[in-house]
């Protein structure tokens, strides 16, 4: 359990293959052609711009009959107005599409809905055509358009019909290494520019574990509607980042916090705490500790926060509600707290292209001592100034009256997350004994605190032991002590005594010692045949092990493995062995410096992992004198 990261890599790679198997055979059902057309239209009655979207998908069954599920998402801003299914050229009236809320485990509630049904392919060569007509009621909600689909496509065409009264920017992403033809023409009748993008031979978009968000890896367009001027009727959308900000900010101005109740709570939390920074911490920790995170994606696609006093009363909220409560409580302490909109590292873009796709998260920022402190209470066990990988270095849009402030969350280094194991080992007979200290920092600390605090009280001790021993009952630990497990400040320390029977392999006069019990990243090879997407690690892991092994009397060290040094911009693996007097000093540091591992770096990663895995198999030899 301790090398969670290692297991995750392996497990996820395994899972990936299972997942891939449960999907349709990509060669069996294929899109012969697929197109999406978006036409900006002006609704003179409602005086607003809408977008008519026509989707056409033509599927063929290449080898054997099968039924495949089909779904199309929609929501309150995006309506499906017509849908027809043609099976082998004839209108298929047997299929009754169901319209339902999308139920995803991660979300308590989402207003995202889907229209879904099963598409039957009754024989080899069978075809199904789907035509869907949608209306997008507000151009702000037309953001990304992807070329790739759940099925492989021989051809995909995206067409945008943009009347000259509409001011739109089209940004393209990941067109390199793709066959995408771009054309632009002018339609006189419509007085519109027509942009056509035709891509050919697209592989299916497959979910795989530890993947970066889709905007990082798949070819797509990002549409930014700037403004409209229809016969003198002017509408401004997102021309500048400030326009985006105003739109988001406007949703928060509709909030009416119960300042009295919030004030009472703020005073209660900070009672007896004179120092402002300590107050800041007290408020932040109170929200982390007392507000359960429940994801709501409701109303205006999840941009409007819940009232702070309501979150406080209910003791649960989503990121928006938690950010808002943090802010309101801090304001009551006289601190300069603001709401922030941020895109986590799941998203490729910053706010330089103003779009509703820029942000997927909200946090709170506090100006204290001429410095911005960014507080994300959804992290549950984080300290101020320590940043989770998903937000570290990301650009934030900070609430600031009429004009927003753009700042970046401080970038973090692996040093923040140091997880240090200090082991003092001795050999007794064939057993290994020792005193061991584990010290956790940064994300390694918050992850462990979260895991322990979510474990049943009566199982905490055994869970902690299982975590330390990797569920190996032969690795016997005793006298386990820890620093307080409900405490976010300071180091998290775990101390214990070790008795590891038969850990030492003795044959004749020789004794072989495997000095490293926790073999992080052991065998964490990436399957380069199956893996189609880049990898995003959860955090900048930094595993340090410092071991001193006392050579037993009557023995001398006869062989030590060689050191290992591998350094790339993405990671660094360092292992050294030293003999010093009657001690052997082992030091290991495995450090992830860049959590984004592109496919091009997989080969080097695998080589490094192979070397590391081999190193883990090397023993220290002691010989009787």
């Amino acid at each position: 359990m301790i090398n969670i990261q290692t297991y995750t890599v392996l497990l996820l790679l395994l899972l990936h293959s299972v997942y891939a198997k449960s999907q349709d055979d990509p060669d069996n059902i294929e899109l012969t052609s697929s197109s999406e057309t978006f036409e900006f239209q002006y609704n003179t009655k409602q005086k607003q711009v809408t977008i008519k979207q026509l989707i056409h998908k033509d599927f063929v069954c290449n080898s054997f009959r099968a039924t495949t599920p089909f779904s199309e998402p929609f929501n309150n801003q995006e309506e499906i107005t017509d849908l027809t299914i043609l099976t082998d050229g004839k209108k298929n009236k047997n299929i009754v599409p169901a319209y339902d809320y999308l139920n995803i485990d991660e979300y308590f509630y989402s207003d995202q809905k889907i229209c879904y049904f099963n598409l039957p392919f009754l024989k080899q060569g069978a075809r199904n055509e789907i035509n869907i007509e949608k209306v997008i009621h507000d151009p702000r909600y037309l953001t990304t358009i992807y070329f790739t689909d759940r099925f492989p496509a021989r051809q995909k065409t995206i067409t945008l019909i943009v009347p000259r009264w509409m001011n739109v920017d089209i940004h393209t992403f990941h067109f390199e290494n793709q066959k995408i033809k771009t054309e632009k023409s002018y339609d006189k009748e419509r007085d519109a520019d027509i942009y056509t993008y035709t891509a050919t031979n697209l592989a299916a978009m497959k979910k795989s574990a530890m993947s970066p968000g889709p905007s990082w890896i798949y070819p797509h367009l990002l549409i930014r509607s700037k403004s409209a001027d229809y016969k003198g009727e002017k509408i401004a959308y997102f021309d500048t980042t400030d326009d985006l900000y105003k739109w988001c900010y406007n949703l928060t101005t509709q909030l009416h916090p119960d300042t009295a109740a919030l004030g009472v709570k703020a005073r209660e939390i900070t009672a007896g705490i004179p120092d402002k920074f300590d107050q800041l911490k007290a408020i932040f920790y109170w929200v982390e500790e007392n507000i359960r995170y429940i994801a709501f994606e409701d109303g205006l696609a999840g941009f409007r926060p819940d009232e702070a006093h309501e979150v406080m009363r209910k003791k649960y909220g989503d990121c928006k509600g938690m950010a808002n409560l943090t802010k309101e409580l801090l304001l009551r302490c006289g601190l300069d707290a603001r709401l922030c909109w941020i895109g986590t590292n799941y998203i490729l873009y910053d706010h330089s292209i103003p779009s509703l796709s820029d942000d997927n998260h909200m946090i709170c920022a506090v100006q204290y001592n001429n410095k911005w402190w960014f507080l994300d209470a959804t992290e549950k066990y984080m300290q101020p100034g320590i940043y989770a990988e998903r937000i570290a270095g990301r650009q934030v849009m900070i609430e600031n009256g009429d004009k927003c402030l753009l700042e970046n969350i401080p970038a973090t280094s692996a040093a923040q997350n140091a997880r240090i194991f200090k082991e003092s080992l001795a050999v007794e007979g064939n057993n290994m004994t020792g005193k061991i200290q584990y010290i956790y920092n940064g994300e390694s600390k918050s992850d462990l605190l979260y895991t322990i605090n979510m474990t049943k009280k009566d199982r905490v001790q055994t869970a902690l032991e299982a975590y330390i021993t990797n569920k190996n009952s032969h690795y016997k630990i005793s006298n386990v002590t820890t620093t307080r497990l409900d405490q976010r400040d300071g180091d998290l320390e775990v101390n214990f005594d070790l008795l590891y029977p038969d850990a030492v392999s003795s044959f004749g006069k020789e004794m072989y010692i495997d000095i490293d019990y926790n073999k992080e990243y052991n065998n964490a090879v990436i399957d380069t045949v199956k893996r189609k997407t880049d990898i995003r690690f959860d955090s900048k892991n930094n595993y340090i092990t410092e071991t001193t092994l006392l050579i037993p009397t009557g023995y001398k060290m006869t062989s030590l493995p060689e050191d290992l040094h591998i350094a790339t911009p993405h990671y660094k693996f360092d292992i050294t062995y030293k003999a010093a007097g009657n001690n052997i000093i082992y030091r290991k540091q495995l450090q992830i410096n860049d959590t984004y591992l592109p496919k091009a770096a997989f080969g080097d990663w695998n080589k490094a992992i192979a070397a590391l895995t081999k190193k883990y198999l090397e023993q220290i030899t002691l010989t009787q004198q």
Binding site: S63, T67, Q124, S505, G508, N523, S559
Partner: protein, 723 residues
């Protein structure tokens, strides 16, 4: 124009729907208020409790009170079943907080009027703070996750719930269903939760005209009170301080926890257990002769004589014993019912893993079997037994608890003919029925003779020797890279163990083998229902077969990775030498050759082999598993054996073989390993045996002794020392 009409029609119906909905919503609300009064106004002292005994201070949560009630009523040709779960829980940590912080509710579900099915549920939640303050959760705060007229699902997050609080909630489910279609669901209530319960009560009331069959298991029978009140049968249980359930491995709740089983027996009576006469009547006269006919039944009767004739000719067996005929009939029926494609229009072509899971309907198969054997003067009995996980034969409360199968009597030895899957053998019972008592009745002969024949029998149990998984490993160190092992592995399995390898078989190969063994004269296309006007299907089958074969590489890789907890570096050879589809053939045998890294450690010029890791799949018991409360129910007695040959490379000697001799033998089982050096080979033999499928909890220490020995063995190493 057309479109606008459609839209206005939609608007119109939407309006109607909205009106209907509000009416429906009002009716729901009224009933919800009623339910709330009924449950929360009762002053039950158990539900006023707030104190936790000292011994439970360290539990994640404590159930202060739990009450389960069921009320079954019948009127206007409908059964009305009302169940209520009322629970009061003290939340003592965040894990429990998380668990009780959200609820899903199927608020409403109904189906078309003719089935008359309607379900409505009502929930009420109250949070009680340590200072005694309490607040009710407003159920109107629930969000809809499905909102259709006939299907409404909601979710609610509990506001202001913290560690230290008490959550007191109930769920009431009203279910109405027309009774001429099916009986209401039976009740199997086992008492015990993952948290301790301070006060448990159960209250079941059944309208007497509905009739009830019941059993109360694994507890002092006096704990269950049953009375007749007005028009109802009433059952009540009241228990104090019910411990939490911690045993999870090899536990059958129905065999170990206090359990109330109950079904409605129609307008009959009050029966403890099931009425033996009913079973006799049913077995003797109903399921076989009146039972529905198998769709393929006629074909089976017509085709088998040809199959038999052909089989005799091909195998040069003019004189087949009755037993041989019965066995052939078994395999033929298995083939006709499962292997062969049934006429009809299958929407999908399924030749992958799911295909192998097809199972037949017991009644149909039993009937086809009986009729077929009758033709060859082979007498048959029909038998019925209760699966081990459900209980003993006496624990049955309805005919639905029974599983049926035929016992053929070709000679003086009975032949148990249970057909559960494509892999079933004649004379082999599913593990769930082994050793159980069964009723048997002759289904040939006169009415009187049939009646006479009704008796109780005990079904045979397979032995540890019969259920064998034998693995032979030949281990070579890669000459260029001694840290890499080349493993030749042969797995041979017999008996119940062979089901573990079903995923490694290909339906295409199974089909071919069965067609060959049965000497089928039909064409493959005919058997796949891909001939004549359907002949185009055959190409699709071939494509699907090809894909399944391609997918098998991955399955094999995953299976090896699963066994060794490490992915093989490369799999160079894989073969199913024997599919083991028929008991008279050689047992299932699989060969694999693959390379593995990570099992050989380097120590200077020497190498250390983690030989124990080659003994895969050993159970390492978690600390909480070592203390056991309940008896041990395993699927079957079994033997696992390893025969390992380690080829010692030239220039090295092997040390440490003497440490590999271990032996723990007791009445529950054994783990024995022995090693010797023979020439340039280390030969290691291991046998692990679980003697019985069942052990009383008192034997747990003995079981742990040999299981621990096996687990310890996985840490063993040997040294290759450079000469």
């Amino acid at each position: 124009m057309y479109k606008s009409i459609v839209i206005s029609a939609l608007l119109f119906t939407y309006g109607l729907y909205a009106q209907a909905q509000s009416k429906q919503e009002r009716a729901y609300q009224e009933e919800a208020d009623q339910v709330k009064k009924e449950i929360q106004d009762v002053k039950d002292p158990a539900f006023a409790q707030t104190a936790i005994p000292e011994k439970y201070q360290h539990e994640s949560a404590v159930i202060l009170a739990l009450k389960f009630s069921l009320d079954a009523d019948h009127s206007r040709r409908k059964d009305h079943i009302t169940t209520t779960l009322h629970e009061r829980v003290k939340i003592q940590d965040k894990a429990a907080l998380e668990e009780y912080s959200e609820f899903n509710i199927q608020k409403l579900k109904s189906s078309s009027w003719y089935r008359g099915y309607k379900l409505a549920s009502f929930m009420g939640i109250r949070v009680i703070k340590p200072n005694g303050q309490q607040h009710n959760i407003d159920m109107n705060d629930a969000v809809s996750v499905k909102d259709e007229k006939n299907d409404k699902k909601q979710k609610i997050a509990i506001a202001d719930l913290e560690v230290g609080d008490i959550i007191d909630y109930y769920v009431r489910i009203n279910k109405d269903a027309a009774n001429w279609f099916t009986n209401p669901d039976p009740l199997d209530y086992s008492i015990g939760e993952k948290y301790p319960i301070l006060d448990f009560s159960l209250d079941v009331r059944i309208f007497r005209k509905m009739g009830v069959s019941w059993r109360y298991l694994n507890d002092d029978s006096a704990m269950l009170k049953h009375t007749k009140e007005d028009e109802d049968y009433v059952f009540t249980i009241h228990k104090k301080d019910v411990p939490k359930i911690t045993d999870e491995r090899w536990l059958y709740p129905n065999r170990s926890l206090p359990t109330l089983r109950l079904t409605y027996n129609g307008p009959r009576e009050f029966v403890n257990g099931v009425n033996e006469e009913d079973i006799q009547e049913y077995l003797t006269f109903q399921i076989i002769s009146k039972g529905p006919q198998y769709a393929a039944g006629a074909t089976i009767m017509k085709e088998f004589p040809d199959v038999l004739h052909n089989y005799r000719k091909v195998n040069n067996k003019p004189d087949m014993s009755k037993r041989e005929i019965a066995e052939l009939a078994y395999y033929y029926i298995r083939y006709a019912a499962l292997y062969r494609e049934q006429p009809g229009t299958g929407a999908d072509i399924e030749v992958g893993q799911n295909r192998k899971l097809y199972s037949p309907r017991a009644h149909f198969v039993a009937n086809a079997f009986r009729q077929l054997l009758l033709k060859y003067d082979i007498e048959t009995d029909l038998a019925a037994a209760v699966p081990r996980s459900v209980g003993t034969l006496q624990d049955a409360v309805s005919l639905d608890d029974l599983e049926y199968f035929i016992i053929a009597k070709p000679d003086d030895k009975p032949m148990y003919c249970y057909l559960g899957s494509m892999f079933s053998y004649p004379d082999e019972l599913p593990t769930g029925l082994e050793g159980q008592e069964a009723y048997s009745v002759s289904v040939t002969g006169s009415k009187g003779a049939k009646r006479e024949s009704f008796k109780k029998i005990t079904l045979p149990v397979s032995t540890a020797a019969q259920n064998l998984d034998a693995e032979k490993l030949n281990i070579t160190f890669n000459a260029e890279n001694p840290q890499q092992l080349i493993i030749d592995r042969i797995i041979r399995t017999k008996g119940q163990y062979r089901y573990q390898y079903v995923a490694l078989l290909l339906y295409e190969d199974m089909l071919r083998e069965e067609r060959h063994t049965l000497s089928m004269s039909t064409s493959l296309q005919q058997d796949l229902y891909a001939d004549g006007s359907n002949r185009k299907r055959f190409a699709e089958y071939q494509a699907a077969f090809e894909k399944a074969r391609k997918d098998m590489d991955e399955t094999v890789n995953e299976s090896i990775a699963g066994d060794y907890n490490t992915k093989p570096t490369n799999v160079s050879y894989y073969k199913i030498a024997e599919q083991g589809l028929e008991s008279q053939h050689k047992p299932f045998t699989m060969q694999q050759t693959f390379t593995m890294d990570g099992f050989v450690k380097k120590a200077g010029n020497n190498y250390m082999l983690d030989i124990g890791k080659l003994i895969t799949g050993q159970i390492e018991l978690a600390p909480e598993e070592r203390k056991r409360t309940y008896d041990v129910y395993m699927p079957f007695a079994r033997t696992v054996s390893y025969e390992v040959y380690v080829n010692i490379p030239d220039g090295y000697t092997l040390e440490g073989a003497e440490n590999l001799n271990k032996s723990v033998i007791n009445s529950t089982g054994q783990f024995v390993s022995s090693a010797k050096i023979a020439g340039n080979k280390l030969v290691l033999n291991i046998t692990k045996i679980y003697n019985h499928p069942y052990e009383a909890v008192g034997n747990w220490d003995q079981m742990m002794a040999f299981m621990d020995a096996a687990s310890d063995f996985t840490k063993q190493k040997v040294l290759l020392k450079k000469m």
